[in-house]
């Protein structure tokens, strides 16, 4: 029944996608009354039905579906039964399709009927992408295959036909244990996908504009806004992934240059570059061709990322799937790249922009530096990530690229980016006046150096940490200085109180100041990373019950091992008490979790959060027969600054979306204060 519903859903969505392509092209060509609503509705309805059928199958324990039989078990509790809908390959493509259909609906709602040729063309492109993903679902990644011969656990033989006589197993093995260890599994992938799939929208507008031969401000405005939305989700998704890896998976860190992590970072870097260079086009009419390249690249990188993570090509902890889906995704990637850049090269005369840059010492110049650095960053990550694949494909040699490679190149690039970030917002457009720049940087630079000096005297002499603090303070300092400079100028002019002026300045250019908030977030991230990476301490100890060890001012006592069992999970761990001399601070319980019938245990650290940073306890092995344990103790000083910075960055992005929407709604030709 659910197989039938799901299959019908996929088919309806596919028909909707085909109609959207054909009618979208017609609407874009003929300028007149083709209605796209039916097609957009079909796509959305089909995608929703597909996901609904899959989720229903999981929560009703319908093991007649191969997907349920192999990735679910009766013991899987809420919300992991729902999250299983995207925990494995086929389901993740369903989620992709649903989000894509949602974004397509969003593009349709912005589509203003007949004269909006760009909107129609973009919808046709969205339809084309949807066609690929629903086609993929129906052919090589069908989540609604039925089980015709059950195995003891899971399914042995399957059939793609929904109406065939099924032989459903009584139970399945459940989802990958790593993925049911924390509720974040239900949150992180959808948020990340909202970012990933969101990059389709700017791409659709860019391709639409190129195909129609209508470059200019319109495609850019729409692409820029949709990139902002996708970027905010992508940032949040990466942040949640880092938090999950650190807090739940005991991988001992938030970032490891794992190919799967890199796959999400590359489109983020390129999208970030576009968010900046798009402003240059909006304000000065420059860099249009470059903007086309960035938007196409960001989309292509999301497809590359999907290929890397979903084809099992790269052997990493994330690649829990192996499938014939790889060639299809690779083919689509090649099609996107070749098609887009062929279109771009034939229309490059339209895409090229005329105005020349007046001076490199200008806002444009800092944006250019920002784009250069971000692009180089992205290329470095791209080469580092794909080089092992290419080498293996051509020579058969298996190699890995170590973290030192990425760190050696990207750390200096990041410091340069911070430096540019400090200067960018305070540098005027056109040609910057040296005196003005000096006036605006003098005080922030002094504050930053004082902060750096204090860090060196009071905290650490490690250069990277001191440099991070100095540059981050410089970034925050210059923008704060600019805010007060403008508010004071306004106060003098209007006679308002400074606080009222501050509010007026911020709301008057909401998009700009939202961006500055994101910059603040990035500055905080830089501080958090530098502290966590350079000032952590590590200790490994063996303990018997009753024994204590002193670690970072805390006395940690091993009380006893413990074991808890429920139908879904068996937890075996050690109970430790943490005191600061006399007072009990916390009880910590690092453990191993064993899920359902699956034999492999998932190590789960326990983390004590304090204002100075985290104390992180990992169990090295099950308690032995004498109840003795081995644990590792780590500190991550000030790591909360990193999470805070991430949230601030995301908030800035979301506020910028809102500010731009309000700008459009107000639609007044507000004279912009040129800073």
């Amino acid at each position: 029944m659910l197989a039938l519903l799901g299959s019908a859903g996929m088919l309806v969505a596919l028909i909707g996608a085909v109609l959207l392509v054909t009618r979208g092209i017609a609407a874009a060509r003929r300028d007149a009354g083709v209605n796209l609503e039916g097609a957009a509705r079909l796509l959305l309805a089909g995608a929703v039905a597909t996901m609904a059928a899959l989720v229903l199958a999981l929560i009703t324990d319908d093991f007649s579906l191969v997907y349920t039989a192999n990735h679910h078990s009766t013991a899987t509790p809420f919300p992991f039964d729902v999250a299983t809908a995207w925990a494995a390959l086929e389901g993740s493509i369903v989620l992709w399709g649903l989000i894509l259909a949602g974004y397509t609906w969003f593009v349709f709602r912005r589509y203003r009927r007949a004269p909006d040729r760009l909107g129609a063309a973009a919808l046709a492109v969205m339809g084309g992408v949807a066609l690929f993903f629903f086609g993929l679902m129906i052919t090589v990644a069908n989540p609604f295959e039925t089980c015709v011969q059950a195995a003891q656990v899971g399914c042995a033989v399957s059939s793609p036909w929904p109406l065939i006589a099924v032989d459903a197993p009584a139970n399945g093995p459940g989802p990958n244990p790593l993925l049911q260890n924390h509720f974040m599994m239900a949150v992180h992938p959808p948020v990340l996908y909202l970012g990933y799939v969101g990059m389709t929208v700017p791409f659709a507008y860019a391709i639409g504009a190129l195909a129609l031969g209508v470059p200019g401000p319109e495609w850019l405005r729409r692409s820029h806004r949709s990139t902002l939305i996708a970027w905010s989700f992508l940032t949040l998704g990466i942040l949640l992934g880092g938090w999950w890896a650190y807090e739940v998976l005991s991988w001992g860190g938030y970032w490891a240059w794992d190919p799967v992590e890199n796959a999400s970072l590359m489109p983020w870097l390129v999208a970030t570059a576009f968010l900046h260079s798009g402003i240059v086009q909006q304000r000065r009419g420059m860099l249009q061709a470059w903007n086309f390249i960035l938007v196409i690249s960001a989309f292509a990188l999301t497809i590359l990322g999907t290929f890397l993570t979903r084809s099992g090509t790269i052997n990493s902890v994330h690649s829990f799937t192996q499938s014939a889906i790889g060639p299809a995704l690779l083919g689509f990637l090649v099609l996107v790249l070749v098609g887009s850049f062929a279109l771009f090269s034939t229309r490059a005369d339209l895409a090229a922009s005329s105005p020349r840059m007046e001076s490199l010492v200008s806002r444009e110049g800092t944006f250019l530096a920002n784009n250069l650095l971000l692009s180089v960053f992205a290329v470095v990550v791209l080469v580092g990530t794909t080089y092992p694949l290419i080498l293996e494909a051509f020579t058969g040699t298996q190699v890995g690229v170590g973290e030192p490679f990425f760190n050696r190149i990207t750390v200096p690039l990041s410091y340069l980016l911070l430096l540019v970030m400090g200067f960018g917002p305070i540098t005027p457009w056109g040609r910057a006046d040296g005196d003005l720049l000096w006036r605006r940087t003098r005080a922030p630079a002094l504050v930053a150096m004082a902060g750096g000096l204090l860090t060196a005297l009071l905290v650490t002499r490690i250069g990277w940490v001191v440099l991070s603090v100095t540059l981050a303070l410089f970034v925050i300092g210059t923008m704060t200085g600019l805010l007060f400079e403008q508010a004071r100028r306004r106060s003098v002019k209007t006679g308002d109180a400074l606080s009222a002026s501050l509010r007026q300045v911020v709301t008057g250019d909401g998009a700009f100041w939202s961006g500055q908030l994101s910059h603040c977030g990035v500055a905080l991230i830089a501080i958090g990373m530098a502290f966590a990476a350079n000032l952590g301490t590590h200790l490994e100890v063996g303990m018997s019950p009753g024994e204590s060890t002193v670690f970072q001012g805390h006395t940690i006592t091993y009380e006893s091992p413990f074991q808890q069992s429920s139908t879904a999970v068996t937890v075996i761990g050690a109970r430790l008490t943490v005191t600061d001399g006399t007072r009990l601070v916390a009880v910590m319980e690092p453990s191993f979790n064993l899920f359902g019938d699956q034999q492999s245990a998932v190590g789960t650290p326990d983390v004590l959060h304090t204002a100075r940073g985290d104390i992180y306890v990992t169990l090295r092995d099950f308690p032995d027969e004498t109840m003795a344990i081995r644990i590792t103790l780590d500190t991550s000083p000030m790591i909360w600054i990193l999470w805070l910075g991430g949230l601030v960055t995301v908030t800035g992005g979301l506020l910028a979306v809102r500010a731009r929407r309000r700008e459009r709604r107000v639609a007044v030709d507000r004279p912009t204060v040129d800073v």
């Binding site: 899971g154 399957s158 093995p173 390249i293 692009s375 298996q398 090295r620």
Partner: protein, 134 residues
């Protein structure tokens, strides 16, 4: 040459330069992954002290503690290499599990200073690959 071509060539030049520098930087930071039979076959390419990663399975009955160090054999079915692990093993290190070791040849044995359990193989749901073909 128009401004547009100039810009495009500039971009291509910068990209090429960055790629070259990156690949040069890469070659110093590559770690080779070898299975025991490859490690034995390519013994000459990896003299003592030359680091690489060895992937295989811990042989049953071979694990023993030698003072601070742990010794065991690693096999891929066709070749077996004795290993000395001079660092703490990862959680749940045991016999008959797939491991990834980083270290170097030292005479007739492999000296590892880092060991990882290859989770990706553990967590693969066994029936998953089968039904794709079915």
């Amino acid at each position: 040459m128009g401004q547009r071509q100039f810009v495009l060539f500039g971009i291509a030049g910068v990209v090429a330069l960055v790629m070259t520098i990156t690949v040069i930087g890469l070659n110093d930071n590559l770690t080779y992954y070898l299975y025991p039979n490859e490690a034995v076959r390519q013994r000459a390419d990896f003299p003592d002290g030359e680091r690489f990663r060895l992937a295989g399975q811990v042989v049953a009955g071979s694990l023993s503690q030698q003072g601070e160090d742990l010794t065991f054999d690693v096999t891929d079915g066709s070749a077996t290499i004795p290993v000395i692990l001079v660092n703490t093993p990862p959680p749940l290190f045991a016999e008959e599990i797939p491991v990834l070791l980083e270290g170097f040849w030292s005479g007739d044995h492999f000296q590892a200073d880092e060991a990882l359990i290859r989770h990706s193989e553990n967590y693969e749901i066994p029936s998953e690959g089968n039904y794709e073909d079915g």
